[in-house]
Symmetry: none
DNA sequence: CCGTTCGGTGTAAGAATTTACAGTATCATG
DNA sequence: CATGATACTGTAAATTCTTACACCGAACGG
């Protein structure tokens, strides 16, 4: 529970952030509340941090991050074109087409670093409801589970397939009768599992 | 138009802001891009500011405000449950289950006021790639076009159907062979057109 | 060949900010 | 009344960040 003063300062930080896109510095908080010593503010910030309302960087100015009561944490997921020539996150990272801004509610999971999106090309997954032009958000997974749809790198090109296990052996399966191709798992790089599908209409 | 380097730096600022809640300082940008002089970064910031992509405070650290292509244009779209007992936006607006935070890039259109999302129930649109449990973002449209998938109110329940015209007459058509039902348009309230489909996997 | 743009290096001054340390005053509580 | 929590004052050092100035090299267009 916050004291009246702490609440007022928390509210000010919230407002300041919405107006200026960054947190206020300690001197700016001093001026707002007519506090003549930086330490007067620091005490409140420590209290707010101890109570879990804010989080502050080690040292460096304006590093007040609002926790929880936050302005919905939006993840900026890089969207790569349909042909990814390499693993996104290596030296030759392909240039992101753009960024998708989505929150955790929409994504359905908490995006870790390394999460990315791909524009789907082709209809090899059409029976799974993923069509040409769709966007998929891929979460890098060290060990993808059976039956998940994964983004895999085959011959330098990124494709989506369903990961299946037949008689203990792993295969990649297209969800389209016209694409019977199965590839053994060992020869490929699995970039991650598809966690969210986004389709724009018209 | 931004140069490749400028775009990369702009993207980094965007990501940094969404991860840390504040803009990076110049030394932090230096470290990210292995630029050994602060002036190397300052040049880019001046270019970005001149091109209108960012705005900077007079003096003071971490005061990089993103303009236009801003991360601030996140729409909070209310998500209603599968059974909408009334038109969302009337007096008896159903309580939103939650809110989806998405930007214009993800949505594919600029969300006007009145835009909402529905959780899909049933498989009447499965042949259109919309499955049970999916979420659809609906844009209220005064005059929906032919062949658009619309959210319509039938007997107090909200359903998705494709709007088709046969011999000059409007019908609603399910995208599933098991649902042959067609309803004349005049008897229904069309809430809007489906503009985005979002599906979470696993 | 020359000027311009882009993308830097290197250094240093100076401004802004954070942090630390030593106190003070008020109020509620046991 | 003593104690602790809250809410500061005041000062100074340390750190971080911005800005300015001088200069370099490559690529490109005329």
């Amino acid at each position: 529970m916050l004291t009246e003063r702490q609440q007022a300062i928390f509210d000010f930080i919230l407002q300041f952030r919405n107006r200026n896109g960054c947190s206020p510095s300690i001197p700016e908080i001093q001026r707002q509340f007519d506090i003549r010593s930086p330490n007067g503010v620091v005490g409140h910030l420590h209290a707010l941090e101890a109570k879990g309302y804010i989080r502050r960087g080690e040292r460096g100015s304006r590093q007040i991050d609002l926790v929880g009561h936050n302005a919905a944490s939006i993840a900026e997921v890089p969207l790569y074109g349909s042909i990814a020539a390499g693993f996104p996150e290596t030296a030759e990272t392909p240039r992101a087409e753009t960024f998708l801004g989505l929150d955790e509610t929409t994504l359905g999971f908490r995006p870790k670093n390394g999460c990315f999106a791909l524009r789907v090309r082709g209809d090899s997954m059409k029976d799974a409801g993923i069509f040409d032009g769709d966007m998929v958000v891929v979460e890098p997974t060290p060990s993808p589970r059976e039956n998940q749809i994964v983004a895999a790198l085959i011959d330098g090109e990124c494709t989506l397939k369903r990961l299946v296990r037949v008689n203990g052996k792993w295969f990649l399966k297209a969800e389209n009768a016209a694409y019977p191709a199965l590839h053994p798992r060992s020869d490929l790089v699995i970039q991650g599992a598809v966690r969210t599908v986004i389709r724009r209409m018209q």
